[in-house]
Structure formats: C-alpha cells, structure tokens
Amino acid sequence: MLRIDNLQAEVAGKPILKGLSLDVKPGEIHAIMGPNGAGKSTLGYTLGGRPGYEVTGGTVAFDGQDLLALEPHERASAGLFLGFQYPVEIPGVSFVQFLREALNAQRKQRGQDPLSGGEFLKLAREKAALLKLDMDMLKRPVNVGFSGGEKKRAEMVQMGILDPKLAVLDETDSGLDIDALRVVGEGINAIMRRPDKAVLLITHYQRLLDYVKPDFVHVLAAGRIVKSGGPELALELERVGYETVAA
C-alpha cells in the first residue's frame, strides 16, 4: 500500500530524512518510534505534502501512484489521512461545515456524488459517538477552545468520517490522559484495523501501543530507520532507551 524508498527530505535547507525506506502492506499497523529530532514529524509532513518540506531524493508509492507528484488535497482524496500532533484552530468555520466540505471535495475528486446534509450529519453523529465526542462540539469552530484531548478525539472523528486507506498519525497520543488514550486507541482499532487499511503510528512512547498493537515497530534515528522488529521492540525501547537500541 505504501512503499517508501530511500526518501530524503529537507526543511529550510537542512536535511532531515536521509534515506528512509519502509514498506507498509494492507492490514498492517506500523509504529515508528524514535528520539526527538529523529525526523518523525518530518516523515508525516513530507508524506502529507506540507509546504516547506522538500523532497530531495527517493520515491513514495501509494497504492501504485506516485504520492509525491500529488498536491496535498489530492493525497487526501487518494486515501491518505494525516493526523496532526497539534491540530490547527480555524475560527469561524464549524467542524460540521469543514468536514462536509472536505468529504464532498474528496468524493468529487473520486467521481462520487456528494453526501446531502442529512446523510452527512448521520455519519458524523455515528463517528462522534464511537469516539465519545459530544456532537455539539462538532458545531463549534474547528478546534477552537478544545482541550488537547478533545482535539485528538476530534482528529479521530475526522478520520472516521473521511474513512482513509492509510492513516499517518503523528504523536496522536501526546496531550492525552489515560482515559482519552484508551478512547483514541480503541477508535484507531475500530476505524482502521481492517484487511484493506493500514496505519503508520508515529509515537514517542510505548503507552499508545498498549491499545493499538502494532505488527511492526521501527526505530527512526537521524533520518533513517535503524532497526525494525515486532511489538517486542517497543517494549525493549521502553526498557533500555533509544540510545542503546539505535547504537
């Protein structure tokens, strides 16, 4: 589903990703762990196509397409969802409006008919209930006045509504208390653990992996994957730290 080959990227002229390769197949959940500054967020933003993140080498194939040739909104329509570490506030635009525009823009790009207001609200209600987010919150402006935990729950509601093939979740666990962590973890499982979907979970800590069991764990250090393994690798990292494992 996602094949990253020797990816190199820089931010403001500074090389961050230095030859990263990764192969994610349908039905798999991959965790990417690593110390601060390893390039974890850069990987997410580069896949999402954020301006300022310049690819200087390598290829990324997503479902057989050249992902890097697509505009950010086209990547979303192709089935990529990027979960943000710090979801952006958009005053004056309600979540309901934002998500309906987003979903219908994606459907249009894929040649599908738009959802009516009623159909969309039914879908939004269902996904909000799944993530235990009060539907009234979706009537408020996007992320404005939301706590850290509410923003992350709202990210997962968005993921549920947009129904991507691949979710790249950047530090989705940061800013979550224990209860919210469980809700978000269960949400990821409910939405994304399917034979035709895949997840790239970018995280600092083992704790989210207690709820979302990865099939593969990779250690990212200095812009490259330096070690890959099964779920036991995350536990080893937690025990002995990145320096020992990455050395």
């Binding site: 505009e71 909104h73 004056g92």
Partner: protein, 255 residues
C-alpha cells in the same frame, strides 16, 4: 448643499489614501453630494448595500449623512467590491441612547482602491456605536478604513467601538487604517483595534490534508474572516446575501 465645489486631493487628511488619478478626473458635483436620512426617535432602520465588482474604471463616491434620534437604532452593512476608486463615506450623529451598528467589507484586486470613511458623532449621552470593517485585497489593490469618533463634552456614558482587520492575499496588495478619536467627555468607553496579515497558511495545509482544494480553502477562510463584519446583521437571509456578494468578487480573482 452649500459646500465648495473643489476637488479634494490626497493632501486632504480624509482623502490621504484616495486614488489621485480618479480624483483628478472626477466631477466635483458628484464629490459633494450627500444623501441625508433621519432615523426618528425609537425607530430602527436597517440598510444593506452592495457595490458590486466591475471592470469600470470610473470612480464611485457615496456619501451618507444620518441623524439617529433618541433611542433609535441604525444598522448599516456594506460590501464595497467596486472600483476603480470606490469610496463610501458615512457620517452619523447619535442623539441620547441611540445606537449605530456598522459592518463594512472591502474586497478586490487589480489596481482598485476601496475605502470606508466614517465619522460618528456622539452628540448626546448614553449613545453607543460599533464599527467592524474587514478588508480582503489582492493584486495591487488597496483597502482603507478611516474612522473618526467624536464624543462631545456632555456625551457621558458613550460606548464606541471600532475594529479593522485586513488580509492581503498577494504581496502587492495593501491596507491602511487611521482611527481618530476626539473625546471631550470624561465618562466614556472608546475602543479601537486593527490588524493586517495574510491568510493562515497552517489552516490552509490543515484543510488540504483533509482533501479541501486551495481555492475552496481560501473561500472558507475568507468567508469566516469577513463574517465578523456582518455579525450585527439581524436578518440571516441578508447576512448570507452580503457574504455571497463579497465572495463573488473573490471568485473573479485569478490567484
């Protein structure tokens, strides 16, 4: 109408950001026309205007002078999308306890110069006024707001507010604002604020990451931005009509 038929120049304080070429070729009679209205005591009057975008190179100068009687209320909302030079001047005198609510949007590109020039006179105590102006400019266009608030000596308990924000969608565009407060009473609240910036690029990428293409993202962000100006419009249908009229001008932009 006994005003001198002289053409103002940009040396005149109230015309400092005006388009000099348009002024030089203007008809002096047109420049000294005032539409005059009275809002009777206790009456509510609502006026909504759209000066639509056109390729017209002619100037547009609209001047409105309104007196609002005791306890009366005057709501005015205007979309200024016209050009080449489009100036809307409003002078409002408030009697005791009267209220003036103003929402204005300038929106345009090319070489357009669009401006609101307001003068709100709090002539008696306890009157209130609220002015919100938003400018959205691209190309080499300019959006201006010159707002003067005068509070006379006896106009205690005046509460006057003025807020201007501009977003410039391209580098060559500009916006100017000049708040002027003349306060001769001592128990008065007068607030003003201004900010000029660009569209939030982070919000743009966030929207793109959800599948919203750049033109639609820009439209949603601009709509949210200018909506502030029409929050005081109590009729929702009118509110939508004004917003849509403003966004029509944006649709013409080749950005």
């Amino acid at each position: 109408m006994t005003e001198a038929l002289a053409i103002p120049t940009t040396r005149d304080e109230d015309w400092r950001y005006a388009d000099a070429d348009s002024l030089a070729s203007a008809d002096p009679a047109a420049l000294s026309n005032w539409t005059e209205w009275q809002v009777a005591p206790g009456e509510i009057r609502r006026e909504y205007r759209v000066f639509a975008s056109s390729d017209d190179t002619a100037g547009l100068v609209e001047r409105l002078r309104v007196r609002v009687g005791k306890g009366g209320r005057f709501e005015l909302a205007i979309v200024n999308a016209a050009g080449h030079y489009a100036r809307v001047e409003v002078e409002v005198t408030l009697e005791q306890g009267a209220h003036f609510e103003f929402g204005g949007v300038t929106i345009g590109g090319g070489e357009k110069v669009q401006e609101f020039v307001t003068r709100v006179i709090h002539a008696e105590p306890e009157a209130t006024s609220q002015q919100v102006v938003r400018a959205v400019q691209w190309g080499r266009s300019t959006g201006n707001f010159l707002g003067r608030i005068e509070v006379v000596r006896d106009a205690q308990k005046t509460d006057a507010g003025q807020n201007f924000k501009a977003i410039l969608l391209e580098k060559g565009a500009s916006a100017n604002t000049k708040p002027e407060l003349e306060i001769f009473a001592d128990d008065v609240k007068c607030a003003h604020g201004a900010a000029i910036g660009a569209l939030d690029r982070q919000a743009g990428f966030y929207m793109a990451s959800r599948g919203i293409p750049p033109e639609l993202a820009r439209k949603l962000l601009v709509r949210a931005f200018i909506a502030d100006a029409f929050e005081g419009v109590s009729d929702e249908t009118e509110q939508t009509r004004l917003l849509d009229a403003a966004l029509d001008a944006l649709n013409e932009a080749a950005l």
